[in-house]
């Protein structure tokens, strides 16, 4: 039998949704549900195995071809970019990138260069570049909402799901940047060398979306 098809899943919520999807499609994910501390887990009733990784690493593993496929959020894909095939919008993990500011402030007023706090500097840079606007971008690792409250920045670029956190901190979305959802990505060589297996799997997945 050939090497198992290796799929990298983004740990956390996307992992749960993907496992649900795979189970609905008839794959036995008991090893993934009952994983303990293991990171590479077999799918018992198919020639497949699942690797659990952080979002950025899913892209890295797929790009290098050590994993054939991966499930990762569009947010990570935009921020990281890279060379792989992005085949399916899985539809779950929906949210959006948005620009938010302190409620009631006019972000675009005045000619001073604005400061933007974000966890996603590439997304923020591309967004403002497309507007032809110079901004200072500050990378923040934790709660980005703090930055405008502490007056470090004029606004933030961040993932917005329900907007509750923003609202509770007196911030509001003034512009949507791009919608986000989970994507199925495939290594460029794997798709060519294992076309039949991968296409069959994708078909099964699409039928169960």
């Amino acid at each position: 039998m050939s090497k198992p098809l290796r799929i990298a899943l983004t740990k956390g919520r996307l992992e749960k949704d993907t496992v649900g999807l795979l189970e609905k499609a008839g794959f036995d994910c008991s090893a993934v549900r009952d994983k303990g501390r293991k990171l590479i887990l077999p799918i018992q009733n198919a020639n497949m195995e699942v690797v659990l990784a952080k979002a950025n690493d899913v892209i890295t593993y797929v790009e290098h071809g050590v994993c054939d496929m991966g499930v990762v959020g569009k947010d990570t894909i935009i921020e990281m970019s890279g060379k792989f095939f992005e085949l399916v919008d899985l539809g779950f993990g929906r949210c959006k990138f948005a620009l938010a500011v302190k409620k009631g402030t006019d972000f675009y007023a005045g000619y001073g260069v604005k400061t933007i706090a974000t966890k996603y500097p590439n997304v923020a840079r591309t967004f403002f570049e497309s507007k032809g606007m110079d901004v200072d971008i500050v990378k923040i690792e934790g709660s980005v909402e703090l930055a405008p409250l502490l007056e470090l920045s004029n606004g933030i670029v961040d993932i917005v799901e329900t907007g509750t956190t923003l609202k509770e901190n007196g911030l509001e979305v003034i512009e949507d940047i791009v919608p986000i959802s989970a994507r199925l990505i495939v290594n460029t060589v794997s798709l060519k060398l294992r076309q039949k297996e991968i296409e069959d799997l994708i078909k099964t997945i699409e039928e169960n979306l």
Binding site: T60, E63, H64, G65, V66, S81, G82, K83, F84, F85, E86, L87, V88, D89, R183, V186, N187, T188, V189, L191, K192, L193, Q195
Partner: protein, 394 residues
Amino acid sequence: MKKYDLITPEGTKDLLFDECIIRQAAEEKIHRIFKSRGYSELLTPDIEFYDVFNHRSEYFPQERLLKLTDNKGRLLVLRPDNTIPIARIVATRLKDSRLPLRLYYNQSVFNNEPSLKGRSTQTLQTGIELIGSSSKMAELEVISAAIEVLRTNMADSFSLEIGDSRFFKELVNKLDTSDDNKELIREYIEAKNYPALNDILDTIGKNEVTHALKRLPRLFGGEEVFEKASRLFSDSSLDSILAELKELYNQVSQLMGEGALTVDLGMVNRTDYYTGVIIKGYLEGYGSEVLSGGRYDKLINDFGYDVPAIGFAVNVDAVTKIEMKHGAGTERNVDAVVFAEKGFEMQGIKKAEELRKNGQTVETSLFDTIEETREYCHENGISKIITVDEKEAE
């Protein structure tokens, strides 16, 4: 100030011993193929004027180039590509040569890669360029060389993929939309990003062309692709491109042997100076293509000489990696060590030279005593020690 005097820049590495031997063996294997087909080597400088690569900025975005300046302040780059400097030579020093020209090269390309991604800034490429023929035979010649190269290494399996850059260009030019949108469509097809491709094409409209473009990235695989493609959209120019590619596919499939041949009509590269057939080669065990090339009939004209050409480049570093994985053998073969007693150094040197003339690999011992020499030979698996002393010297 921090000194960076003990490490190499990111994306570069030192190669030691086995790595050099295996890489050299891989190069030699490939060069034997090129030479046996009548290709001649040429070397171009590692640094070139920026202008050489700047005819069309879309080929080489400036952030990917490694730049420096000369003593007049002019911008130089470390060559990011091997075909362009060869196009420059063909259009200048080789302009009056009789065609066709069969050229090969073996030199590094340099590309600024995003950091911490495990990609290389410097990559050794070897490849051929066949200049001056737009014939079908030229395509078969270059593709058969590519197959020979893919077959000659140790990977478990190889596959070759062919496509035609004109197919997408013809199709997208039927769309009434901006160049920016066309570039986006190209990007999405290249990434086989079906969701985004569908979105953008839906905003442009629903017609035969957008429907065909939506299907384009899925048009890869075996012979069945041609039938699917012809059902998708039909006009005289696309039909003739497809017919040519199908003929090529059938011919090339006779050359493949144990390798797999596929076709991908959704191959639309970014640095696209290709004007016709494009090829990519894959080896089992490496996560991206190890060989890529195609026909580039307009490129040399950027340098003022209108001549057709076709070629491909092989990523030697990738091939080396695969050979190492498969345990390509290397042995440090030293046949003997010459140990000279104190005062007999010159005799020792001469003795070693004499043995080397007979084809042996001989080291001279740098130790003071025979015991240390024995220990060294034992550790390094060298079975023969020749002592040069009073007796031997006579």
